[in-house]
Structures are given as structure tokens and as C-alpha cells.
Amino acid sequence: MNFSRMWAMFTARNYEFFRDRAAFGWNFAFPFLIILGFGFIFGGREYQDFKVGLFPVEAGDEFFLKSSVPDAFQNGRYLEFIPFADLRSGEGKLRHQKIDILIDRNSPTHAYWINDSSPKGYIVEQLFLASFEKNEIRAEKQVVQGLQVRYIDWLFPGILAMNMMFSALWGVGYVVVRYRKNGTLKRLKATPLTALEYLSAQMFSRIFLLMFTLAVVWLGSDLIFHFQVLGSYAALAFVFFLGGLSLCAMGLVLAARGTSEEFASGILNFITWPMMFLSEVWFSMEGAPSWLQKLASFFPLTHLLTAARKIMNDGASLSEVSSECFIMTLVTILCLLLAAYLFSWNE
């Protein structure tokens, strides 16, 4: 690996991006417009149904509703029951008002938890209590505290990550295919530049631009919406950096051999659209079929968003998102090596 050669390609690619004013402007305008639009459309509104968390529920237990929760409550309309493995995982959601009540399904005292600043929590609590027979033992109430995570606070990392995904996959994958088609790669092949050096330069150039865009869009959007970040900004930036790397590396694999821009477009759409819908950019996959959740776990975007939201909304530290960071690092290394192995300079 020759870093001087890599640096030469890195700077050349940056010149190209910054001087292409249309593409450069759109990279900032697109996420900003989406955030602005969704911010005003949804404001602070949350989900319509009341969300009831039940624990402990073992993974794959489809009959978790057969519990000590009264039938009258289980059969209530506009209630969505969400299983949690333990109290801790449910409590976090309740604290941010992602669910409205949390119930211990095995508790003989019908223990339940409520966020005392949630109006929806108050209503669903009354429904829960009214569902008991008159002479039955009173349920044991516990209170947690925490401000609601606004939809825009939850959505914001999703939009940033989505923009990152499109920019990484199209900005790397599509551009490399175009370079192959017009002979730019062939010209570079006539030099000592190696595939790994070229691809690394492409990846790092794009990540530099992505982080720059991220910072500008973040600052601009924060002036309007005042986002809440409970964890550290440095940890958040690191997670976005890793996520960006893994997405760029994925783009390089797609670009390793393609010679047709039309075919590359098709493949990129095939990859980006499922990622956008299954990686929780717009809505939570909680309650989705387990096979779909498993499929989503193969996407680096899912891990980027999980980690970013944990840090931003739950105040998690880097060590608490280490598994997501590890997966993103692994995806980056594997994709980069695979891309270098498969890479072809010629048409």
C-alpha cells in the first residue's frame, strides 16, 4: 500500500466533488429539505395506537399474550402489544415514551410501569386498571421519568444515515462504473496504482465528503429543530464515520466489475430501497415479523441507525454500541477486500 499514490487519488476525487456544484449542492439540499418537510408535517406527533410493553417474553414466543394480563385489556381496541425480553429493555422505551405502559406478565401483583410525564400513559393506565374485576387485587404501580423522544428526534439520524447511504453507494458505485466505461480507470491502470489503493482512496474521499455534509446539515437543521443528543457527539460522529465506511465499501463491491451505468443503477436501487425501508429509517421495525428483522440485521445501515439512536436518544456510550461498531468494521474490511479482489480496470 503506497499512501502517496492513495493521497493523490483522494485529493483528485475531492477536487472533482467540490467543483461539481450541482452534485455538491444537492448533497446538502436533499437531506435538509427532507428533515424540514418531515419536521413540519409530523411536528411532535407520535404513533396513533397505544403501545403496551410486556415482559419477560422469550424470543420466538408467539403466545406471549396468554399471561396474567386481564382478557378485557388484552382484547381492547387500539392497543398494540410489544414483547420485551426483560424489564431493562422495556424501561428504556418507556422512558422515551416509545411505549405507553410496561407490564410484568408473570407478576402475581400485576406490576406495571408508567412514565409520569406521558398523557397517553395516563389514559392507557386507566384502561389497564379498569380491566380488573372489582374484587381483584390492585395492580402495583411503578413510575419512570423521561421526556418523550419526538418523532423528528427519532427520524433525524435516519435521514442523515439514508443520505449517507445514497451518497456512499451512488457516489462510489455509480461513479466507478462510469469511470470504467469512459476509460478513466484504464488510464489509471497504466500506472503503478493498485486496486486496493484506488478503492481505498475512493472510500476515504467519499467518507470525508460525507462527514463534511453531515456536519453542515446537522448544524443547519439543529438551528431549527434543536435536536436532543443524550450521548456524546464524538461517539455519534464515530458511529456515523464507521457506518459511512461500511456503506462506501459496499458501494465498491457493487462497482467492482460493472460496465453499464444502467445496470449499476438497477443494482443500486435494488440494494438501497430495501435498506431504506427495513433499516428503520422512517419507522420502527418493532413488532415486524422476526424473519424481516433478521433480514434487516444484514444491512450495515441497520447497525448504523441502531447505534446512532442509542447514543442520541438513549445516551448510550461507545462501549454500549460496540457490537454495532464491530459489525460495521467487519463489513468495511470484508467489502473492501472483496472489492479489491474482484476489481477490474477494463470494460
Partner: protein, 321 residues
């Protein structure tokens, strides 16, 4: 030009070194040897069986019509594409990673990074090599001084070819590949490019170029390999090729120049567009014969054979076909 030497030792040393270069070139091993190359694209045989070698300091031209396999042969020699069969040796050995450091390539169809100026493009490529050429020298040699701040996509055809040539020379290559360097250029730009190539040649660099212009081949090349249908059908110096395959000349005269029965002429002849074309083996004798026959030579023109005639002789078709 007169060279002044400090003393006779320096003079003798200079003479010895010049003698050595000439003598050495004749006896040296080839810098590049290509043997029995074959390249298939699916069912199409682009190159059937090509062999040639080139010695250091020589300019070899691969001459042939479009589709003859010149570019494919060139790209196999450059290590850009891999042959299906055959062997390529650089300085007597299979090519290694350092091959790219020692060759320069100007492709026929290529593109450069967008939105970069000529200067930035040169600087980018300059950093890709271990021992690059001095940029100022290169800019001067390829006449790019006034274009440094201009973007690549704003260059004219001739300017772009000069930039491409500069990129091919940026690593001080020993062996330079030029794939149809003057195609699409106007006559002035073409002549300008030829002069630059001649200067490169004078520096002792080995050049392999492809062309379908016999004028370019005659002007630049020491040796020419004529290709057709994926094969080398003749290979020698341009002069020798012409002497071997097309001796003599053609005298072209108006019909009115002859006051005698044409069948009395001791040459083969043909009539075309009101003109008589005589095929003459020995020019001097031919002239004497015509004078003796009292032919009016005032409207005569002489066509001496060139590489195109050699090509027609060998293949029965024109280079432009």
C-alpha cells in the same frame, strides 16, 4: 552543427560513445519481444498470431486498417489486457510489477478525471510514480505552458493529445506506447505532435505506435509491422518494405502526350480518367525510353510507391477499407 571539445580525450570519448550507441543498438537484445499472441473476444479472433520484437531506441509502427488487431496487440503488450495465448518478454524476462514504472502509454480512447485543470492532472499522475519526470521539463516539451490552468474538458483535440502524451512520459519511460496518437487531429496539430514524438525519439526512448496513416508511419517509424486480420503480414523498415514489394514508379501522362500506338510501349500501362499510367521498373531507363519515343513529358507526374502501395500489394485492399 559544430561541437567544440576541450581536448582530444573528450572528443575521442564522445566519438566512442556515439559509435557504441550505434553499434550497440545493432547488437543489443530486444527491449520487448512478443511471440505468437492470440486474443479471442468470445467467438471473434481479434489477434490471430502476432510476433515481433523491438530494440531499444527504435520506433516501431504497427500499421494496418481499422480492425486489423493493432490496438488489441498493443494493449496486450502494455499488460492492459491478457492474451489467450502467446508470450511477452520485457528485457528478456516476463513482465513484473516494475513494468508499469518503466513504460508510458497513450491510449486511443480514454478519459481523464473531471473538473481538474491540466496542472492538477499532471500533478496527480506525477505522484503515482516512484521516479517521475521533472514537471517543468515535461510541460515545456509537450508545449502545455499556456494551458496549465485550463480544465481537461475545455481542451481542443490537439491540446488533449499533447496532455495525454505528457502523461505517457511523466515517469521517464524507457518504452512508450502511442495508440493512434494523431487520429482526429487537424493537419497542423498532427504535424506539431509528430515533432514532439520525434524529439522523444531523439532522446533514445523506444516507441511502439499504431497508426493507419502511412504518412505517419513513414515520418516517425524506423520499422513498420503491417497488420491485417490479426496477423503481421510484413515487417521491416519503411524503405525496405517499399523496395521489396513495390519497385519502380508510376509515370502519369495525359493521353495527348502520346503520338504513337500505345501498344508499342515497352511497359505495362493502363488508362484512367483521360490519363495513361505507366508502370516503370527503372526510372532512368523509363525516362530515356519515353524521350526516344518522342513522348511529350511536359504534363508528366511521377508517383513513387509508399507504404499504402505495399499494403495494397500485400492484401489487395486499401488501408482506409
Amino acid at each position: 552543427m559544430i561541437h567544440w571539445y576541450k581536448d582530444k580525450d573528450v572528443l575521442f570519448s564522445s566519438v566512442r560513445s556515439k559509435y557504441f550507441i550505434i553499434h550497440h543498438r545493432e547488437n543489443m537484445d530486444p527491449i520487448l519481444e512478443v511471440s505468437h499472441l492470440r486474443k479471442l473476444y468470445r467467438q471473434t479472433e481479434a489477434v490471430a498470431d502476432v510476433s515481433f520484437s523491438v530494440k531499444e531506441g527504435v520506433c516501431l509502427g504497427l500499421l494496418g486498417p481499422n480492425g486489423a488487431g493493432k490496438t488489441t496487440t498493443m494493449e496486450m503488450a502494455e499488460d492492459i489486457i491478457q492474451p489467450n495465448e502467446g508470450e511477452i518478454l520485457y528485457q528478456g524476462h516476463p513482465r513484473t510489477n516494475s513494468f508499469r514504472e518503466e513504460i508510458g502509454i497513450q491510449f486511443q480512447h480514454t478519459s481523464l478525471l473531471n473538473f481538474l485543470s491540466v496542472e492538477e492532472t499532471l500533478q496527480t499522475f506525477h505522484k503515482l510514480f516512484r521516479e517521475p519526470e521533472d514537471l517543468n521539463l515535461l510541460i515545456q516539451r509537450c508545449e502545455l505552458g499556456s494551458l496549465l490552468k485550463r480544465r481537461n474538458d475545455k481542451l481542443s483535440g490537439g491540446q488533449l493529445q499533447r496532455l495525454m502524451l505528457a502523461l505517457a512520459l511523466i515517469n521517464k519511460p524507457r518504452l512508450v506506447f502511442l495508440d493512434e496518437p494523431s487520429t482526429g487531429l487537424d493537419p497542423q496539430s498532427r504535424r506539431n505532435l509528430w515533432e514532439i514524438v520525434l524529439r522523444i525519439k531523439e532522446e533514445g526512448k523506444t516507441i511502439i505506435l499504431t497508426t493507419h496513416s502511412m504518412e505517419e508511419a513513414e515520418y516517425l517509424c524506423d520499422e513498420v509491422a503491417i497488420m491485417d486480420q490479426g496477423r503481421v503480414i510484413a515487417w521491416d523498415s519503411p524503405k525496405q518494405l517499399i523496395q521489396t514489394y513495390c519497385q519502380g514508379a508510376a509515370f502519369i501522362l495525359p493521353e495527348s502526350a502520346f503520338r504513337l500506338d500505345l501498344d508499342r510501349l515497352p511497359f505495362s500501362w493502363k488508362q484512367k480518367d483521360g490519363q495513361i499510367i505507366l508502370e516503370i521498373t527503372q526510372i532512368h531507363e523509363g525516362l530515356n525510353t519515353l524521350l526516344n519515343l518522342d513522348v511529350d513529358l511536359s504534363g508528366m507526374s511521377v508517383h513513387t510507391p509508399n507504404l499504402e502501395d505495399v499494403f495494397i500489394h500485400l492484401t489487395g485492399k486499401q488501408l482506409r477499407d
